[in-house]
């Protein structure tokens, strides 16, 4: 009887987190002000962290908060402050309708691809999630999967290089 109660609770928590993620996502793309959009993004990031908690991975959940909320969002905020993007600015007007369609497609394609991949190759999982020790997690990342793990950090380098190139091109136009 007690297990049933816990299972119901787990479902409620799961859908609560999914609701937070979805609401945050819509707030990010639909809001007119960049500041509010960022708050929506942060809400989504928190929701994802909550899902990690639900899967008994508190280390990854806290890393999500530490890195994405504590560092990446703060840097995005810095960028927003430098752009002087007030709600009544140039970019706040309505966009043409086809842009919404493109944006919807751009969101849907990776969602469908990931969903099919996950459903087709569902990994065998536990009924009740088990907490992995941090040392095991570390071994996993730095011994078995060191190449993909290091490749992820390339992403940051690429985005940084991209930002620098964009800035240089803008300066050249002036």
């Amino acid at each position: 009887m007690e297990n049933l109660e816990y299972e119901r609770l787990a479902w409620a928590v799961l859908f609560g987190h999914i609701a937070i993620i979805v609401v945050g996502g819509f707030m990010t793309v639909l809001s007119q002000s960049l500041g509010r959009a960022l708050v929506g993004l942060i809400m989504t990031l928190f929701g994802v962290a909550g899902l990690f908690f639900l899967m008994a991975a508190p280390f990854i959940a806290l890393m999500q908060i530490l890195i994405y909320v504590g560092a990446v969002s703060v840097l995005i905020f810095f960028a927003i402050m430098l752009t002087n993007a007030w709600p009544g600015g140039d970019e706040s007007g309505k966009s043409p309708g086809r842009k919404y369609i493109y944006a919807g497609l751009a969101g849907l394609v990776p969602a469908v691809m990931l969903a099919t991949a996950v459903i087709r190759t569902a990994p065998p999982s536990f009924l009740v999630p088990e907490e992995t020790e941090i040392s095991v997690l570390g071994r996993f990342f730095l011994e078995d999967f060191i190449l993909p793990f290091e490749l992820i950090s390339l992403l940051l380098t690429i985005s940084m290089a991209g930002a620098v190139i964009l800035a240089f091109e803008m300066r050249r136009k002036k």
């Binding site: 609770l9 500041g35 509010r36 508190p58 280390f59 909320v69 504590g70 703060v74 941090i134």
Partner: protein, 327 residues
């Protein structure tokens, strides 16, 4: 009805209530101490001696402060983003309360004993930077915006040596569990980690001052140049939230220092909450003492201290720790 609620929820609920009371009481005590010590160091009696003779030493002053803050009118400035403007104080205070639930106050006094306690605190204290930026940005005020920009550069810069220093302690102990770290140290001062890591303690103290926006690093709210920085437009309880959060983060920083370097609840005689409280209050008194003794640094000095001194020293400390462990 009560049996239907699982015990962990009751524990967390009661724990959160206790922690909120602790945060509030600490703020009252710290505001009083701050005024008292400021009056003493600067030789300016005022709030330091105010009140009728039956309440000596101005002990009613914190109550008067609290009543004033509760009674003040709060309003949204014209042109501000009202949603973000009111969200910011809440984002500032909420994570501070979460931090306390993993802190071991005594051998048996801890709400949740988790293996990731240290990371939880580091993750949730990082959110404060975001709250201060939101406050500065949403209030549509030049001073607020400058304060927010300063807060980001300061917070991001000082988080690096802070994390490196924490990492060297974690390498020594091999755990993120705050209880285990405190438990691994002995009762006597020469068995505490401050003896093995004196440089780390000093670096951590400086970074903690900067992260909690305390003097001499209180540039985001520098009164003499920015009116009040990020909270220029806030009044009443909204301002009190930021204020409460600042004191709460000070206490969190003192708790972490006490656990990582000073043996936490360990002490000669019997271990217990009294040792822990004594240690954090000594650290807090040093923080207040520093505030009323040193002048504020300039902003370029602030960043130079961090990037040219603290980060290289923190890396050096980490390398030495690793070398010693490897040997």
């Amino acid at each position: 009805m009560i049996e239907a609620i699982p015990t962990p929820f009751i524990v967390i609920f009661v724990g959160l209530l206790a922690v909120m009371a602790f945060v509030g009481l600490n703020a009252v005590v710290l505001v009083y101490l701050e005024r008292k010590i400021a009056g003493f160091i600067h030789r300016r009696p005022g709030p330091y001696e105010v009140g009728p003779p039956c309440f000596p030493h101005g002990i009613l002053q914190p109550v008067a402060d609290g009543l004033k803050l509760v009674g003040k009118q709060i309003f949204t400035p014209k042109g501000a983003d009202s949603f973000l403007y009111w969200l910011a104080p809440m984002i500032s205070i909420a994570p501070a309360i979460v931090c306390f639930i993993v802190i071991p106050f005594g051998p048996h006094l801890q709400v949740i004993n988790t293996n990731v306690g240290l990371i939880l605190i580091l993750a949730f204290t990082g959110i404060n930077v975001l709250a201060l930026c939101l406050a500065g940005w949403a209030s549509q005020n030049k001073y607020g915006l400058i304060g927010a920009a300063r807060d980001i550069s300061q917070g991001v810069a000082y988080e690096i040596p802070l994390l490196l220093v924490v990492l060297s302690i974690v390498f020594m102990t091999g755990t993120f569990n705050l209880f285990d770290i405190a438990d691994g140290q002995g009762a006597w001062p020469w068995q505490w980690y401050i003896v093995y890591q004196p440089l780390a303690f000093i670096l951590f103290f400086i970074c903690a001052l900067a992260e909690t926006n305390r003097n001499p690093f209180d540039l985001p709210e520098a009164e003499s140049e920015l009116t009040a920085g990020f909270h220029t437009e806030y009044s009443g309880m909204a301002f009190a939230c930021f204020f409460l959060a600042e004191y709460a983060y000070m206490v969190v920083a003192a708790c972490i220092m006490a656990i990582l370097f000073l043996g936490g609840f360990q002490g000669p005689g019997a271990p217990g909450i009294w040792w822990f409280l004594a240690k954090i209050y000594v650290l807090l008194l040093i923080m207040i003492w520093i505030r009323w003794t040193f002048p504020r640094v300039r902003f370029d000095q602030l960043l130079n201290i961090c990037w040219k001194w603290l980060i290289p020293l923190a890396v050096l400390n980490l390398l030495i720790t690793l070398a010693v462990i490897a040997l």
